[in-house]
Symmetry: C3
Subunit: 300 residues, 3 copies
């Protein structure tokens, strides 16, 4: 294996990520370590999954450890799995599946055997890093735990994206998947949907947005942070209420440079997703979009 | 030596940590570098000491450099010391001692000879990193400076922890040692104290807290940040006034998962310390606890 | 080449820096990577240039990649250049020139050939990291693009610094170049100017400051952040209006330790620049100085 990568919500203050580095350096000396990020918002499984999935294709073949684990200390399983493009290791809470799919899909999985006598609260250091070191140094997957059915691995609800054709033309509807640190808004829509909607660079479109009404059936947030709409798809198709972004018009472009400074643009981002950016600005803030919002795009 | 670790308050913006990496790469090529953290709050020697001490046992045997050094440019000594588990290098202001003790204790120490003609303000790059590189490549400790008595090394005041036995049962009193980024509160009390107090998983306890009254005798803060009570033990046993946390009841558990989401739990953390957490929440914020507060725990 | 360094405004949340690490690990395995910083304020080309220039001399000979690139997707050139001390790679927007000069000056430069079919928005991963890997593994500069005249490379406007001699003594005027995370204020004045102004440790000086009046001719900010005065030199010598720092008196010292806690000091910083610090405090905040302000120093 030519690298071990780490994706966590540990932050960079407490030495937690460093302890994982230490374990890897001791058990798998010489294997490069890549810190994908340690700044996933606390307990935001969906965000951690998206960051890792969009990064993993650019990393060397390796073992990808992710720990966003609000369920540590509960009965959630601890997972290691093989894909055509390497291994993934972490809690069985949906975090790893998008990365595994980016690497070709889950071929085999085990429920990691817990070492004896470890504290119950730091599985990154005490369970997942040792498992990753074992895989990185050639130990077989089956030596690490009991086989489980890959189909039984927990998955996050699928983000929503579709194209509707009507008398007034096509309509692209998609959930906001992530907002990056620049305020660029990535939708859960691949390039094909833009083509299906008949949209091309130079076209102008109207964008509006809706936000799920918080509802009693909503599954409880998994982390310390309240994520108002991130979980709504787990309870089926909830009521939608008008969202914060009023309708705006923008151009379809190839890149930020397709529009003037300060203007919005709809484009394909570097991960291949339909995205909205404001040149030299913050699209998410000005449109008040957050992950989980639904965006509706229609031709003008 | 199989690693050099770095623990500083340099932040990650200015290239200061990178300059230390550069010095190490030039003078000790091939030795892995572990960034424990560069986000210690400015000048917070106690916090830096705690982060390094809790991390160092998980790192490979090596040279551990720490620089939280509000006294740079004053007459404080520059230290390198040998322990059974590796070396520590940094300012002689108490920062290194807890890590040295975690590695088995100070066996020998030198006051580092200052290189000629260096700027007076960046000892991490110009003094400590070169010394660490020398040790990591096999140079003897005595080549780096004058021997000093390990007993003369500056120590931080001991945090307070004790068990009092009375007619109404035992009472555990301990200072808050650190608050991590999740809001988990680690007390200055090892597992034995929990046993001495007769507390076991499943028991319920009452927790209250006191904060030292800021007083004129208090030693001045060493950094740019005001730490209201962190230094109080340096001036003996100060008056205690009621603290911000009203009495609360909570369970003794094994982990976060021992309680329902949103509930408090008293448990042993991954560093072996008695700690308070709120499942899926921030215990320190809700109890308004900061390092240096004194926590009193009694059985219900 | 014994290292590749990275200086970006990508932040540490989104996996962008990690994707660059992945490309480098795949294309130039075994070459150490140094993260100078990924926290340059968005689009702040001048700040990125200053951080890299002050760090690069302490890194091993190598390839230094910098990406603060508000013009990505526009027609700005993509640059790789050779200096006596290594290579620099990044956008042709002035970012690389101060580092190149710290390494001995631009000897040769190419306009990088764009790979086919890459997204238009992530040149760090798709253009600059691959170019750096090529140089780090011995590929010749000319294989990467068309030669361009080094004199044609875009340069940031020179920051201003001078000594005026008058009947009342010398007067040192210099722009604020950077403010570091500790609040230390580095001026665009090298040590010689302090000597020219006849100032020595122990002298006392008066410091005042002026801020450029925002004007219609000001070139538009290049990034998402408004930098009120950072660009004023691009439009010649603008009107100056009274700045926020009233006149204060302070000592010329060798280091922070030259003055009492809480006091200001004028000194030479670890990068060899005239600087203002407040011992155990934040000089920039208390004097309300920002990069681009002009500071005037006169003997008392």
């Amino acid at each position: 294996m030519s690298c071990v990568s780490l994706t966590t919500d540990y932050g960079l203050l407490d030495g937690f990520a460093a302890a994982c580095h230490g374990v890897l350096l001791r058990l798998a000396p010489g294997v490069p370590i890549v810190d994908v990020t340690h700044l996933v918002p606390r307990g935001d499984v969906r965000r951690g999954a998206a960051v890792l999935a969009s990064t993993v294709r650019h990393l060397p073949r390796g073992v990808h450890v992710a720990v966003v684990d609000p369920g540590v200390g509960t009965s959630r399983r601890a997972l290691a799995a093989r894909t055509p493009g390497g291994f993934v290791v972490g809690p069985d809470n949906g975090l790893l599946v998008p990365a595994a799919e980016a690497l070709g899909g889950l071929l085999a999985a085990v429920d990691l055997t817990m070492p004896e006598g470890i504290p119950a609260t730091f599985h990154g250091r005490d369970v997942f890093a040792p498992a990753a070191a074992a895989l990185a140094t050639g130990r077989p997957l089956d030596a690490l735990g009991e086989r489980i059915d890959p189909a039984s691995v927990v998955r996050l609800p699928e983000p929503f994206a579709r194209v509707l054709r009507g008398p007034a033309g096509s309509r692209l509807e998609a959930d906001v998947l992530t907002v990056d640190g620049f305020g660029n808004v990535a939708l859960a829509a691949a390039a094909e949907l833009l083509t299906q909607a008949g949209l091309r660079p130079g076209d102008r479109v109207r964008l509006s947005a809706e936000r799920a009404r918080p509802s009693a059936e909503r599954v409880p947030p998994t982390g310390g942070q309240t994520r108002p709409s991130g979980e709504r798809r787990a309870v089926g198709e909830p009521e939608l209420v008008p969202g914060p972004a009023g309708p705006v018009e923008l151009a379809v472009g190839v890149t930020f440079g397709s529009v003037e400074p300060g203007e919005l643009v709809l484009y394909l981002d570097s991960g291949g997703l339909v995205a909205v950016a404001r040149r030299d600005g913050d699209a998410a803030r000005s449109l008040r979009l957050v992950p989980g919002d639904r965006v509706i795009i229609t031709p003008v």
